[in-house]
Every structure is written in structure tokens, then in C-alpha cells.
């Protein structure tokens, strides 16, 4: 290790710098490959590796045709819209419901409190596959008949996200001072008012942390979208999955469509990253 010091006085570790650079490159290359391929024609992509184009950027025939074809020739635009329409309510609804319940778990005393919460902690681990056949019966043509529509997926994601939402918000609220809630009560606030005026605003970081996780999960979900949405309402992820089987004609669309499907979650992730990291590390999400 070299003896030179960094600005903050710690010794500079050359080994760490080199290893991190190698790791960062390894972690980035796969995504870079997809991005580069998405700007190449099908013939180019089939006749040489994407790295030849990246290493010789001026000699490579870059094209944006794949992207224009994806939007003109396929339903990716509709799929993106479906994904947005599905993901936003499916993110906000569980937070709404869970926040009230988390308030009750944190600041109220009632019978069965511990038992109910232990059940919720246990449900964090239960695979959602247990729900599919019974929920297909309830939502399907022999039940409510709403399978295939947005609403069935909103409901499912709200239900499946609920244990984690409750767990995250309750753990966060438990770190808030109880005295605040008590003094609000002395001032004559109802629980409803205390929740809206005091607790909900203070719990925003935990809500944002859960929202990030839930949004990514809903947007990136394949299983529920594939089973509970009809083709008009299918999400961009399902469309990309269908394109993955394509060979020959149309194969070039896959990379562009896949990249398009990643843009929104990346924007959400990086804009809420600060909350997300803080929420995760403050013990809000423990498993």
C-alpha cells in the first residue's frame, strides 16, 4: 500500500482503487453491451460483437432505428403506459392502508396486537405462489370476473406488498418519540388527526423507502402481470419477455425494448435512492 494520504487524511489504498475499478467495469459491461447493441442494426449485431463498435465508435454504423421501430411497429408504447398505470396505484395503495395500521401497531394498545404482528412478520417469508390458484378462482370468470383488468393486479400487489409495508412503517414509527403522540392527545387531537398531522409527515422517509422497493417490484414483476392481465393491458416487462423468444426478423427490437423497460425504474431508483438507502439502513427493512 502506498503511503500517500487522501484529502481527509486517510491513507490512499491503491489496491482498493484498482479492485473497485475492476468490479465497477465488470458490473457495468453487461448493461453497456445491451445499450450498445440496441443502437446497432440487426446485420451489424449478428456479424460482430458490440464491443467492436464501442472500441471504434466512429466507424460503427450507429442507428436509432430500433427505437423508432419499437415505438411504431409494436405495442411497447402501450405497454409502458400500462406499466405506469399499474405501478403507481399499486405503490401508493399499500402505503395508505399500511400507514394507518402501522400507527395502530405503534401507538395503540389492543388485544391480539402481538399475535397479529407476528403473523405479519411470518407472512414476509411466504412465497406469493401460494396465492395464485385461489386468487385466479376469485378474480377469474367464475368469481368476480375482473382477472385481466388493471384492478385485479392493483389489488394483488396491494395485498402482497402489505406485510412488508406494515413491517417497514411500523419499525420506523417505533423509533419516533411516543411523547409527541401523547401530547397531541392531551391537546385534544383524535387519532385520525394525530396520524395526519404528526405521524404521517414524520414517517415520510420510511414511506419513500418502501415506495421505491414496491415500485421496482411492481414494475419489474413478470409473474403476476403474466397471469392476471390480458394482452391489451400487459406490461412492458411481459412484452420484453415475449420478444426474448424472437429469432431472426424482429430480434433487433429486443435490445431496444429491454432498454426502454429499464429507463423508468432507473429514474425512480436514482431519484429516490437517498430515501431508499436511509430507509434500508435505518433498520426499516430488516429482511
Amino acid at each position: 500500500m502506498s503511503r500517500t494520504l487522501m484529502k481527509d487524511g486517510r491513507p490512499r489504498s491503491v489496491f482498493s482503487v484498482i479492485t473497485m475499478v475492476v468490479l465497477v467495469v465488470l458490473w457495468t459491461i453487461p448493461t453497456l453491451g445491451l445499450l450498445a447493441t440496441s443502437f446497432r442494426t440487426r446485420d451489424d449485431a449478428a456479424s460482430s460483437g458490440w464491443w467492436t463498435a464501442v472500441l471504434n465508435p466512429f466507424g460503427a454504423g450507429w442507428t436509432t432505428e430500433n427505437y423508432s421501430k419499437v415505438f411504431e411497429g409494436s405495442d411497447i408504447g402501450v405497454g409502458l403506459l400500462n406499466s405506469v398505470v399499474i405501478a403507481i396505484p399499486a405503490t401508493i395503495l399499500p402505503i395508505m392502508f399500511a400507514a394507518f395500521a402501522a400507527y395502530a401497531f405503534t401507538f395503540m394498545e389492543f388485544r391480539g396486537k402481538d399475535v397479529i404482528f407476528i403473523v405479519i412478520v411470518g407472512l414476509l417469508v411466504v412465497p406469493i405462489q401460494v396465492a395464485f390458484q385461489p386468487m385466479l378462482d376469485i378474480l377469474g370468470p367464475e368469481g368476480l370476473g375482473i382477472s385481466g383488468q388493471y384492478i385485479s393486479v392493483w389489488l394483488l400487489h396491494t395485498g402482497f406488498g402489505m406485510p412488508l409495508a406494515l413491517y417497514t412503517l411500523r419499525n420506523y414509527m417505533a423509533t419516533l418519540p411516543v411523547s409527541i403522540v401523547e401530547s397531541a392527545k392531551v391537546d385534544g387531537c383524535s387519532h385520525y388527526q394525530t396520524f395526519w398531522k404528526l405521524v404521517a409527515p414524520m414517517a415520510v422517509p420510511a414511506m419513500a423507502a418502501f415506495a421505491t422497493l414496491q415500485f421496482l417490484w411492481v414494475w419489474n414483476d413478470l409473474l403476476i402481470a403474466k397471469l392476471f392481465l390480458n394482452s391489451d393491458n400487459s406490461t412492458v416487462i411481459v412484452q420484453v419477455q415475449q420478444l426474448l423468444g424472437t429469432q431472426g426478423q424482429g430480434k433487433e427490437l429486443l435490445t431496444a425494448a429491454a432498454f426502454i423497460s429499464m429507463v423508468v425504474p432507473m429514474i425512480v431508483f436514482f431519484s429516490l435512492q437517498r430515501f431508499f438507502v436511509r430507509g434500508l439502513t435505518s433498520g426499516a427493512v430488516k429482511g
Partner: protein, 391 residues
């Protein structure tokens, strides 16, 4: 609303003696019938309106001009507004009740919607799934243990169990190791270098399994010998003098399964790093200094001082990734759909349920999966209890 039936006729419950002065407590102790009524009517109206609106989206999209953006926006407003309104009227209803009753009921009012969701979407289906696992393919008649006998005698099922066990052994451990390495090394960089390098490592967290499969499909791509290789792995392999391989078709030593595990590890290391990095930063500097003064090497400090102090976080990360791995589906489904000896339980379930329409066998597979998570579940509950005790 079922809680309506618990509302007693207001006058009979009122306290006959005047309440002693107990400071500025909210609300009178008598029932306020008007609030009870408004609350009740409000709740019923909101539930009725929102339910009909949402059914309208499903059955009569033309009422909403067939416009997805409009439907989505309206659903958002109605869903969120409806939830807020429901709680408002529920609260009003409960507060209108005599105080002693109202204070006992209000926690349950706050819990009701989310517990209802959990009951309907998770608890009821779990019981029903166990029930279906003893029934035939379309869940119309009981068949005893026939489904279990059938899956246990199916070699492909055992194949997927073995593969799942491999995934469980490899992925969480490797993810944790990478997470620790990245967190430790990043901690030694400048603040800017740390932030930048971490961003690159956790970028894949935002990528879907499907997107990741598209990305790694390019790496594992195969072209005929002689023609230029467009898959990165084959390009390197051929440069080193090998013959191009169809990597995902090679079950020897489960190579194809390991190549798919790489994808999941690539996706999850960022998550591991976030938690582990903050745990490492939380290790008190003086414990490290003390070890240094005692003459411990950096490696010794790391294993004897740092690791024991972040053990809790390591276990948390391990368990979280483990839960994810148990139900790994998307990657296998998209990359091979279980061919070439790569099948896993969640993919078998999917194919039994939808490709083969075998609800009985599919639910039996889920029950096996459920049994497999029970140890994790017990651990999780114990861990939670221990943590609560420390709070």
C-alpha cells in the same frame, strides 16, 4: 361494513354519573348518534362508489373514453381518495360511539383494511392452496395424496429440488461475500469515488429479471464456429482457443445453472452492499484502533474485529437473498424454461399450473415450497422477537 352491527343503541350505554373532571380529554363520553350515522353512511357510500367505479373500469372502459391515462389517473385519485375518505368516516363512526367503546374499537378500525387485504390475499389463499393440493387437476374432487405421490415420483421434480438447493447454497453466500468486499473496498476510497462506484454496483437493482435475462442473453450468445462470435463469453472463449459453446445448454456440472446464478448475484450485490456498507461504517473506530495498537494486521482486524460486529447485518442480507432465491422463477423461465436440467421449483409450479393445467400438482408443489420456508419463517419470527426485546 360488519362493524356496523356492533354499534349499540346509543342511549342505553351512556354513563349515568357525570364524568369526573379528568383534564382536557377529547370528546364527550356519550354517544353522538349523528356522527355514528354520518360515519356509517359515508363508509358505505365510499365503498359502494369506489367498487362500482373500479368495476366500471373493468367492464365499461368506453365510459372512460377507452383512455388508459384517464382511467389510471382516475383510479389513482379514487383509490387514494377513497382510502383516505374511508378512514375518515371510519374514524368518525368510531369516535361517535361512547368513549369507552370507541377507545377499544379504534385500533381495530385502523387495522381493518390492511388486515383484510392480508387475510384475503395471503392467509385465505394459503389455506385454500393446501386444500387444493389434495384435489384433482381442476379442483373438483379430492384425490388424497395422489398429487404428492405423482410429483415425488417425477424425476423432473427431484431435479428441480436439487437445482433449488444448489441455488440456495451458492447465491446468498456469494452475494454476501461480494457485498462485503465491495462495501469494505468502497469505504477506503474518497467520498466521491465511493459514491460513484457504489452507484455503478447497485444500478442493476433497478433492472428486472427479464431485462437482466436480455442483458445476459447477449453475453451467453452463440454463433456457429468460424463466424465472428457476438456473445462476450464465447468471444473470450474462442480467443483463448476454445470452440464456441451454447453455454445454457450445458448441464455438465450444472454449468448452465451456475451461469444463471451469476445473473441473480449480479442483480443482488448492490442490495447487499448498501446494508453491509452502513454496518461497516457503524463499527466503532476505537475498536479498530485498539486492535491496531495491539499489533493486529489489517486482515486480522477485518476478520476478528469488523466481521463479528456486522454479523447481524450479514445474516439479514443472507436471509433476504435466501427468500428471494427460494422462489427464483423469472430468470430460469426466460432463459431455458427448465430445459437442460435447469428446472427450479417455482418454474415447475408455473408450468404445472398453466402449461399443463394441473392445479392439484401445482398446488402440491407450492405446499412443498411452503414447507421449505418454514425454517426461515421460524428464524424470522425469533429474530423479530429478540429485536423487540432489545427495543
Amino acid at each position: 361494513m360488519s362493524s356496523a352491527t356492533t354499534a349499540p343503541p346509543p342511549p342505553t350505554v351512556t354513563d349515568p354519573t357525570p364524568a369526573p373532571v379528568r383534564g382536557p380529554e377529547p370528546g364527550p363520553s356519550r354517544a353522538r348518534p349523528l356522527r355514528v350515522l354520518i360515519g356509517l353512511v359515508g363508509m358505505v357510500l365510499i365503498v359502494w362508489f369506489v367498487a362500482n367505479l373500479f368495476l366500471g373500469f373493468a367492464f365499461y372502459p368506453e365510459w372512460f373514453f377507452d383512455n388508459k391515462i384517464f382511467i389510471g389517473a382516475l383510479a389513482l385519485v379514487a383509490g387514494v381518495g377513497g382510502a383516505a375518505g374511508l378512514f375518515y368516516f371510519l374514524n368518525m363512526f368510531v369516535e361517535g360511539l361512547p368513549r369507552r367503546l370507541s377507545e377499544g374499537l379504534i385500533p381495530y378500525a385502523f387495522l381493518l383494511p390492511s388486515v383484510a387485504f392480508i387475510g384475503l390475499m395471503l392467509i385465505y389463499p394459503t389455506i385454500q392452496t393446501i386444500n387444493y393440493s389434495f384435489a384433482n387437476a381442476d379442483s373438483t374432487a379430492y384425490v388424497g395424496f395422489a398429487n404428492y405421490r405423482s410429483i415425488f415420483s417425477d424425476s423432473q421434480f427431484w431435479q428441480s429440488i436439487i437445482n433449488n438447493i444448489l441455488w440456495i447454497i451458492v447465491v446468498p453466500a456469494v452475494t454476501v461475500v461480494f457485498g462485503v468486499v465491495v462495501a469494505v473496498l468502497a469505504d477506503k476510497l474518497t467520498a466521491r469515488g465511493e459514491k460513484l462506484s457504489k452507484s455503478f454496483i447497485f444500478l442493476p437493482m433497478a433492472i428486472s429479471f427479464v431485462g437482466a435475462s436480455a442483458i445476459w442473453g447477449l453475453i451467453y450468445a452463440y454463433d456457429n464456429p468460424g463466424s465472428p462470435q457476438t456473445g462476450l463469453l464465447n468471444a473470450i472463449w474462442v480467443t483463448l482457443g476454445g470452440e464456441p459453446q451454447t453455454w445454457l445448454n450445458i448441464p455438465t456440472a450444472r454449468l448452465n445453472s451456475f451461469l444463471m446464478m451469476v445473473i441473480l448475484i449480479w442483480l443482488q450485490v448492490g442490495f447487499a452492499m448498501i446494508l453491509l456498507s452502513s454496518a461497516i461504517k457503524g463499527v466503532p473506530e476505537d475498536t479498530i484502533e485498539a486492535a491496531r495498537i495491539d499489533g493486529a494486521s489489517e486482515v486480522q482486524i477485518f476478520f476478528k474485529v469488523v466481521i463479528p460486529q456486522i454479523k447481524g447485518t450479514i445474516i439479514t442480507v443472507f436471509i433476504t437473498v435466501l427468500i428471494l432465491v427460494l422462489k427464483v422463477f423469472d430468470i430460469v423461465y426466460v432463459m431455458t424454461n427448465g430445459r437442460f436440467n435447469t428446472d427450479v421449483i417455482a418454474n415447475r409450479f408455473f408450468n404445472e399450473l398453466f402449461a399443463n393445467s394441473q392445479a392439484g400438482r401445482a398446488t402440491a408443489i407450492v405446499v412443498i415450497l411452503l414447507l421449505a420456508v418454514i425454517p426461515v419463517l421460524i428464524y424470522q419470527v425469533r429474530h423479530f422477537r429478540a429485536e423487540e426485546a432489545n427495543r
